[in-house]
């Protein structure tokens, strides 16, 4: 993936082969799975390049902690 979009996964170990998909079972019955079974997995690396003017995740977490320390609740 040379030019990933915002939120794309750029590193994952969960690209199943056809053989792996074929043997995946739910209990004892074979189920049909189309596409990749999930969007995120343990160990994935996400691409989130926030730009100037946007509120980044690290900034939002900082706002949350600062608000919390001052007794301010989240806007619902």
């Amino acid at each position: 993936m040379s030019n990933p979009n915002f939120g794309d996964i750029i590193e994952t170990n969960f690209i199943y082969s056809d053989d792996q998909r074929a043997v995946r079972k739910y209990g004892d019955s074979v189920v049909q799975v189309s596409g990749q079974p999930a969007t995120y997995h343990a160990g994935d690396v996400v691409h989130m390049p926030y730009q100037a003017g946007e509120t980044s995740t690290i900034e939002a977490i900082g706002l949350a902690w600062s608000a919390f320390a001052n007794g301010i609740d989240p806007a619902e």
Binding site: I10, A42, G43, D44, E54, S56, I61, L63
Partner: protein, 513 residues
Amino acid sequence: MTKRGSSFGTFKTNDTSTDFGLKPVRTEFGGSSPETLYTISRESCWSRWRRGYELATASLYHNSFDYPFTYKIPLPTGTPGASGNQPAIPGVFRGFPTKNKELGVHWAGVRVAGSLRFDNVLDSSNVRASITSVSEDNEYWYVQLAGTWSTSNPLPAPLYIPIAGTDGIKPTNGEVIEDRIITPEGVPITRETINPNTQTRYGYVQAVLADVNPSTGLLTLRKRGSVEATPDQVLVTPATRPPNIGRYFMTGTRYYCTCQDFTRRQYAYVSSLGKRKGNYFPRTRCATLQPGRYEVMKIAGKVANQAMTNAVTNRRLEVIAPSSKYEIPPTISATSSTKLGATRDNPGVFSDFGGVYIRSGADPSLPGAKSEGLPEYESYSAKNNVITSLTDRWTPTLDEFRYCKHIYAMKYEEGVFPPEPSDLPVGIRDITAWEQRLVDQTEKDQEGAAANINRYGLAYMDIPPFNCQSPMMVSMMQKLFNIPSTFVLLQNFIMYDKTGKAYTPSQGGTPVT
């Protein structure tokens, strides 16, 4: 449920009948007891490491219970709405079918790597916080961030939050960080990324953020447990070199689990579904009761400890601490109260196993380091029979919080082969046979647990995001997201179904069938 008949934790004179009965580490006292040699066979990190591998391979075969999500971080009241890309935490809930869990599943959580980026950390002149220099000693790297930092212009939140009259709080301490961002707003490098100038792989370093100095912009990274991705695409630990100057940090994969082993809590939602035998109310013997704090969840002031609610009903965390003399740090809960004689248990919901083993001293592998000595259990400290401090343990780090088998399983799936713990079970005659039986037992347990799930159905149990404010899950959410529990709102979860389609449960969205 703790077994009867012994007054001193799990110390027993004979464990021949429990060689295969792997149970959470719940010993209250340290390695100074001669009996620990006999109980180590089941209170062994090696067993968790080995069993985690079995769980990881089992999840490749069976469908694992994965619930991917994106959590939209709510902004504080009065803050203008965010424009453009919204602040969000991507991650996944992973359910591990568990035979002896009344509702059938232990839930673990993952916040994927790259969620927090230091190219978004700016000083007052909007200079990005890249790595400008690194010094080191035996235990730590000291990383200087770019920017102008002072007492009046300290590192921004969440690295440091000033609180009047206190030293402030540093919520990011304990985060795993990696120097994987080469250019600001650029794509993080992976193990494979090749430097076009040198035609060799970049490589990177992963370490735990031990501390920050807000007035100088200096980060302290722990060498112990650090990982290096080498130009050969191999992960080695500990890292042989410091983080690269000129790059930006981002957070690594963050894990948390709700199992008894990891939380050191025995818990139950009172239910007769799934688990047909056994006790429903956790309890603690009087002998092991210790001062401490516990949490309850409330809706409109009333206790609501059920496993899950609907997607639009939010609960609030209330922390009960022993006495007004011991102020609860502001990092825990906005709503808190004190009660004389409070213990670490919440009767009928969970019982606490006690403290956590904290490694002491320098890394034993370093020249001149002393041996570790007796383990230290940090739950509270006392002087002259008066409690002087209650220790909060909500800081996950790489190797000080011992992993449970579920997190080991996810580490294997990540492609990281975690270092083999050295406490290989001893005192067993045939270790090969023992290991094979452990494998067989794990497989059998997995089949039984999966059958139970199929029989009773997920609909009867706790499912993310509906259970995210249950007593055991809410503290996991706070630790996993690293935000205050009041900012964990059910309506902000966007989930993904098996085809990758997004749906929002609070708006009535459902996965495809």
